[in-house]
Symmetry: D2
Subunit: 266 residues, 4 copies
Amino acid sequence: MAELQGFVFPRTATGRSSILPAPPWHYSGDLLTIEYRTDPERVIELLPDPIEPADDPGAVALVWADWQSCSDTFDELLDPVRAQYKEVFFVVRGRYQGEHVSRCVYIWVDKDYALVRGHYQGYPKKLGSIHLTRPVAYGKAGPRLEPGGRFGATLAAYDRRLAEARFTITGTADQGGFVNSHAMLHTRFLPAIEGAQAPPSLHELVTMKTVDVDAGPVYVGDADLTLFDVPGEEFGRLAPREMIGAYYRQVGATFVGGTTVHSYDD
Amino acid sequence: MAELQGFVFPRTATGRSSILPAPPWHYSGDLLTIEYRTDPERVIELLPDPIEPADDPGAVALVWADWQSCSDTFDELLDPVRAQYKEVFFVVRGRYQGEHVSRCVYIWVDKDYALVRGHYQGYPKKLGSIHLTRPVAYGKAGPRLEPGGRFGATLAAYDRRLAEARFTITGTADQGGFVNSHAMLHTRFLPAIEGAQAPPSLHELVTMKTVDVDAGPVYVGDADLTLFDVPGEEFGRLAPREMIGAYYRQVGATFVGGTTVHSYDD
Amino acid sequence: MAELQGFVFPRTATGRSSILPAPPWHYSGDLLTIEYRTDPERVIELLPDPIEPADDPGAVALVWADWQSCSDTFDELLDPVRAQYKEVFFVVRGRYQGEHVSRCVYIWVDKDYALVRGHYQGYPKKLGSIHLTRPVAYGKAGPRLEPGGRFGATLAAYDRRLAEARFTITGTADQGGFVNSHAMLHTRFLPAIEGAQAPPSLHELVTMKTVDVDAGPVYVGDADLTLFDVPGEEFGRLAPREMIGAYYRQVGATFVGGTTVHSYDD
Amino acid sequence: MAELQGFVFPRTATGRSSILPAPPWHYSGDLLTIEYRTDPERVIELLPDPIEPADDPGAVALVWADWQSCSDTFDELLDPVRAQYKEVFFVVRGRYQGEHVSRCVYIWVDKDYALVRGHYQGYPKKLGSIHLTRPVAYGKAGPRLEPGGRFGATLAAYDRRLAEARFTITGTADQGGFVNSHAMLHTRFLPAIEGAQAPPSLHELVTMKTVDVDAGPVYVGDADLTLFDVPGEEFGRLAPREMIGAYYRQVGATFVGGTTVHSYDD
């Protein structure tokens, strides 16, 4: 009999097959954040007890991110199919023990390790096909990071387009939005193999710790956003009523772990 | 505050966004099973306590499967991008409480819902690109399900080929192998958000229940198999020493749940 | 200096790199054909001189095909990622030298060799993501080839869904439609490197020869069809006004070449 | 009868369905160029009459490119799935009418419009899966464009890895290699529908015109390169004997057409 090794599955005698290496995980990438207000009831219905509604409860952030990420060996950066991925996610806000928290309610990525990493962190990830215009410094086939720069951003899954946005830089700002700026408070959940009528095998609220945050200027601008209704999705319930702002920023950060703040089976 | 619904994440007020519907899950597909013996120590090192070595402990099954699956609404069958997927998996045997069990130690699929469904069932799934020759009834571009029919099967991930096999039907048989024929005994595992040094948040042995098994003839034949060494994988430790047999069969079945047989944090 | 070899590019000293081997090309697959009538003017506007309008000029066939194909070595069938592909195509009818002809006006496939093979044959192929429910013989996750069997079929490209259809078998018939049943009359066209204002470098009408046709029963049924308007496509001009019929059939055939029937630069 | 419109196929009454818009085509992207010498006979065997061997005939450039491109409407940049693509290509040199020329002998891209655009320009394109590490300005998950910056680059097709390279910046230079720096001299070739025994329908040598070239600094460095032998490819005949140099550069350019310099059927 063996003592199996590995941060997650598949766990083996050596631990080398795990779909995820152990943290820390380093990230560098470009983020487009679009903030808007929706019907507050549609946000509040996504906040499980004991999370309470935030001030300005209808605020939503929809974020496109074009990442490279790697483990502490940095090996993935030399086999970039293992390092590059993109994601799109909806973030709302709540309040927990008197403090505002951010909470990802829908998210899509395009690689399996990023999917499982998200499930470990309480992100409810699905796979999608994601595109975001990249800024360029030379030639005519891309925007510059300066006023007038225009970007497109799209999300698709299962051969249907789910969302698309356009963004035009108008200037710079001191900060890049307020919805995705608090500590994340996520649910990790897995039903029992006996099914939904049994108590879940995993049901926790967790928060995460990020260090070594490094970021470029915040470019602000005008955005428009279209959400499509498709089977098996209900992000359309978060339809925009009023735009707040839009921000483009290049960032880096390192994930070093987190804390279980609530276990539902206590 | 909301009572969130949904079999798994993302959980919402309605439950409609869950990446997986609740069981039962129906399956119909074609399976190519190649059985062989490897170094028994390489199998035993993959059996966590309290699973004990099987008789004939070095026996391995490598299975290619080309599936359609759906929920009890059958809706996925009318949007086939949601119903069709392929998978490849290695199965070994152990013994638990005196009975032989089957255990999947490595597995790849090509859709997100199948990945998460596997994680729910304790299959250590990664994403891969999987192909299996299909039998045809007309024309020259495919084998017939009869002696002389030749099939190819491949597995790739992260832009590298991982495994390939060829199979030629020689006749029929009463049964299709013995390695993948016992009750499955799988590990469900997720580390704590605090990291690998903390006790895992989920660590169970589960078994599964399948009903309404429906299957066609077992076609037996000759197979050859090549496993490639690639970074991040170690299935090459299960290198064939001796072929046992190879089988092609069309099957149907319904998954209706399972039983938690051991919890490591008791 | 070398005498370059190879059926098409890249051409080399040995000819082994060609994206396409020389014919014959063998095909086996499943076809869903939906026939309907559209505004006849929308068909006639797609018929270049000297092709004349057909009788019943508004008839259109939209076909989903799930293929295996291979060269005369049959090697591709043992590496099925090289043999399996799917396609969707619109066919209309015209009249040439007094005879009815069939003409493919829009088509999508999911492999590069099939794309270039189509361009060689005058099919105006683009890449797409294509799915078609497969009939099964066992289990609940697929239709049987018998009355009541229900199929879904979808087409997507560039992260947008383009078309979807549903089909239910009601019985069998002697033949499977009349729109895609004549000799194909296709245009092979490539502008000069000098651009569109120069005479094209290639501008021909060709027809093709298929032998060893082998086919199963024709299953007829009811279908509904939805075409979506997307940028860069105009198949929506061929919107259905009246359904004619729908047919599912398993077929095999071998392409052995063709004949140039008209050269526009003569 | 219609006068069909469109730069290439599918050609229609409006011309809007063409897989390619008419030039000009704008490009912005990042290029990694690795130059080395192979057996000169392996290059000379790829030069069709009337192209003669170059001085230093064994020199080869292998280039990874991560592009955005668009038409003169710039619309593609706002739907980036239509603008972003990657390619890998081998370039050799020859001599034509006394002048050195560059010639692409093998190339892979990951989008259909780029594939057909290449065929129009005489690039012998196939589809592949291509990855190249991106430089970043923030965080730890990517190299900086400065000495010590390390990049990986990979190419795969049909579920097999074909080539991989690693590059480390050591400094800057005035120019970025000499193999891919001459006028391109490409073959446009398509056999007759009657087959390879008939005269080809298209057989030309063309050259191309690029304007508005805009480029950043040339970063030079050390590279290693691995080419894998796979079925259906023979780029392995161009195995490196001696490395010349490696260069990373961000560039922009606009393609405006070309000139037919030789027609083989004259």
